[in-house]
């Protein structure tokens, strides 16, 4: 893990003001083109989904099965990532369209929007990479930072990370229930049960749709349609898992201790968001298919700016980081994924012990990395 990065002297407040300026500029320039972007994307995604399902219903032809499954997988990825995730962040609330609004949106995944918005928007985006606060660090199940205590169960984490990738949507739905906080009483058992019922209700509808209703409608093609839907869901799960793990767990992403976030200023919050996030380099297709989480840094600095704008501000953010001597962590999808898996494998075993040299002095901003 990168170390002395945040130990440099940083005028966090000036850095924050520059970022605020970028943010204000983007907000002032939002307009018809942005509205057209999201509306066209939603329409395209829905047509793609219909197209995929129609092709699957003609899947006695093997190419139709493959094309239908691919179309459905792409539609589900777009729906979850570039559309759902970003709408639920309130990125499109400025349009005041009740159909594309964070308070009315529901997405095609096991996790009910309301619960996810709490665990993701509130907990993760506020406490990004703060140990003991950000539950997204290893999703309460994995050891992705040497700072986390090692337990023997972590020996199996490479194995259950594969399972998590395959069944990611269910993992997230269960994760949102915060079950690990029940024994300590931090979370009310009754509240968790109520939430569990909501999750079960949603999963039931999702499962019936993809594995009962559409296959039944296909009559003799029940099995190919079921397998097509299953493949599309698995593809989406594996892809979402890969992209999301690349956001905060590759080398370069830093972790923070709770006491260091006490009394954090806006500027320091910006610095922490930057240091805790990693980008993925790639072309427009990668950005679109990752829901622009390939611009994880920009997303964490400005979670409620429309995602179609992250690409245009990324060079400015990068230049700003250079000016302030802050690291801007970015790498190819292969490199970042490799880095994540290396860490998952290495940290399955105890250690490594932290080197004294890495316990760098805190920067003036009050932030301390503990890599």
């Amino acid at each position: 893990m990168s170390t002395a990065a945040s130990a440099r002297l940083v005028d966090a407040e000036e850095f924050g003001r520059e970022l605020d300026r970028i943010r204000d500029e983007v907000i002032a320039s939002l307009g018809e083109d942005d509205a057209r972007y999201i509306r066209n994307l939603i329409a395209t995604q829905r047509k793609l989904e219909i197209g995929g399902r129609v092709l699957l219903s003609a899947s006695w032809l093997p190419p139709a099965w493959a094309a239908g499954t691919a179309a459905l997988a792409i539609a589900k990825i777009l729906e979850n990532m570039e559309i759902g995730h970003n709408v639920l962040h309130g990125q499109w609330d400025w349009m005041r369209d009740p159909k594309i609004h964070s308070t009315t949106w529901e997405w095609d995944t096991a996790s009910p929007a309301e619960q996810w918005k709490h665990s993701h928007n509130v907990i993760h985006h506020t406490w990004t990479n703060v140990l003991g606060k950000d539950r997204d660090i290893g999703y309460s199940a994995m050891r992705v930072s040497p700072e986390q205590r090692w337990y023997p169960v972590h020996l199996f984490q490479p194995f259950y990370n594969v399972l998590l990738a395959l069944f990611f949507e269910y993992g997230i739905a269960i994760y949102d229930l915060e079950l690990e906080r029940i024994p300590s009483g931090e979370k009310d058992l009754r509240e968790a049960l109520t939430q569990l019922r909501t999750v079960a209700g949603k999963i039931r509808r999702q499962v019936i749709k993809d594995y009962v209703a559409f296959p039944l409608m296909a009559g003799p093609l029940f099995l190919p349609v079921l397998l097509g839907n299953l493949s599309a869901n698995l593809t989406r799960n594996v892809w979402a898992h890969a992209i999301i793990f690349c956001g905060h767990f590759p080398d370069g992403a830093e972790m923070f201790t709770e006491d260091r976030v006490d009394g954090e200023t806006r500027g320091e919050w910006y610095v922490r968001q930057l240091l805790g996030s990693c980008n993925i380099d790639g072309g427009r297709l990668l950005h679109l298919m990752s829901g622009n989480l390939s611009h994880q840094i920009e997303h964490h600095l400005f979670p409620d700016l429309p995602s179609n704008r992250y690409g245009e501000i990324a060079p400015r953010v990068r230049a700003l980081c250079e000016r302030f001597g802050l690291p801007y962590s970015s790498g190819s999808l292969a490199r970042q994924t490799g880095s994540v898996w290396k860490r998952v494998l290495r940290l399955a075993l105890p250690g490594p012990a932290r080197h004294a040299a890495e316990k760098a002095a805190p920067p003036v901003s009050g932030l301390q990395s503990i890599g």
Binding site: A35, A43, R46, D93, W94, M95, I208
Partner: protein
């Protein structure tokens, strides 16, 4: 779906009228299993936004100039549109630079047009974002969001045998709908015989179900600026039971209530429907007994204040915004990106009420501060009187 849309229109599917609502509901329920977590509606509206029953829409089919600064917008309302009564208004949500802006306009067309369309007539307001956009930059084919129709500025059923319309400026728009309804609507056709009787012996008019005896006194600055001027003159020539008095205020001066005696000697015996600028409405309210007077406001009669306002916090969405003393909580919430329920936007329909969590609000009409936690407040006519929390 915005809460403001609920209750305005029954969810009737595109095909509901043909196959019966019960069958359609069952079909829609079954289709929901295929579209979950979305609704069949979300896919239907890909083909045609007008088929959406969750969000009432309309397509603008024509924009016709009426005067130099007024246009009539012809709208084909989508599925779920409930036929209006003459005199009612519609809420129209227009996307400008990607942001939806809501305004209310009186419907200027009578109900039951054979082509299923409705019209609003919009006078451009200087610096008026929506009115100027509708008049100058809206092209046929544009889809707008709709709410309504609603409003109490309507004629009773059956209408009185003699009545008076007193209008000024764009106040003619709901009255135009009423005139056509009275003179050419289904009622008029049923009562052709009655109309003749009314003309000859107005005193016995109450016995006749046909077209009543109508006096319209309409003011506009100049003949050129009179909205529907030529059309009204044509109507008056065609229907003897309509007597039209045009007043060009820049030439003849403003009409005073005292002038009415000369124009319409029996004005005191006629129920009156009055629509126009605030001054006209105030004078009418002083002049008529309340039981005979029906008035329509264009906007909340706000009293401008100096000082106060405050931070408005929306507890459920966690958003907040600073609002001044003359900004309605509705406008403040919309600016903050909160989905605010809304309706008439002038304090009449109660489509915008939400619970107050803490703080006090000031009624923009009366200037009175009020509010206890839990009170349902009308956001469209309430401004913050200090810091306010609203449950939204």
């Amino acid at each position: 779906m915005s809460p403001s849309h609920q209750g305005y229109h029954q969810p009737v599917n595109a095909l509901g009228a043909v196959h019966g609502p019960a069958v359609m509901r069952r079909l829609a329920g079954a289709a929901r299993w295929l579209t979950t977590p979305l609704f069949p509606d979300d896919y239907l509206s890909l083909v045609n936004p007008l088929w959406s029953e969750a969000e009432l829409c309309g397509r603008i089919e024509a924009v016709r100039p009426e005067t130099a600064d007024a246009v009539t917008v012809v709208i084909r309302p989508g599925v779920g549109w409930k036929p209006h009564r003459a005199g009612q208004w519609v809420g129209i949500g227009v996307d400008i630079a990607g942001v939806r802006h809501w305004r209310t306009y009186s419907l200027s067309s009578p109900p039951g047009r054979p082509d299923g369309r409705v019209t609003i007539t919009v006078k451009t307001v200087p610096n008026g974002l929506v009115s100027r956009h509708l008049a100058r930059r809206t092209t046929p084919g544009t889809v707008v969001a709709l709410t309504g129709p609603a409003g109490e500025f309507v004629l009773p059923e059956p209408p009185p045998a003699r009545l008076l319309f007193l209008t000024a400026g764009s106040g003619i728009t709901p009255v135009r709908a009423m005139l056509y309804d009275l003179l050419t609507g289904p009622r008029a056709h049923q009562g052709t015989a009655g109309r003749k009787n009314i003309r000859h012996s107005p005193a016995h008019g109450t016995e006749h179900p046909g077209s009543p005896d109508v006096v319209l006194v309409h003011s506009a600055p100049t003949p050129e600026q009179m909205i529907f001027g030529a059309e009204l003159r044509h109507l008056a020539a065609r229907f003897p039971n309509l007597s039209l008095h045009q007043r060009h205020t820049r030439i003849e001066g403003r009409l005073r209530p005292a002038d009415l005696t000369a124009i319409c000697p029996d004005w005191a015996e006629r129920p009156a429907w009055v629509c126009g600028p605030r001054g006209l409405l105030q004078e009418a309210a002083e002049h008529w007994p309340a039981d005979r007077l029906h008035i329509e406001h264009f906007r909340a009669a706000a009293q401008m204040r100096v000082g106060e306002g405050g931070r408005v916090r929306f507890t459920r969405s966690g958003r907040q915004i600073d609002a001044d003393e003359n900004t309605s909580l509705l406008a403040a919430g919309e600016d903050a990106g909160v989905l605010m329920p809304s309706g008439c936007r002038m304090g009449i329909c109660h489509g915008c009420v939400v619970p107050l969590v803490s703080g006090r609000v000031r009624d923009l009409r009366s200037g009175q501060a009020h509010g206890e936690p839990g009170d349902l407040i009308q956001t469209c006519v309430s401004a913050a009187a200090g810091p306010v929390e609203i449950e939204l």
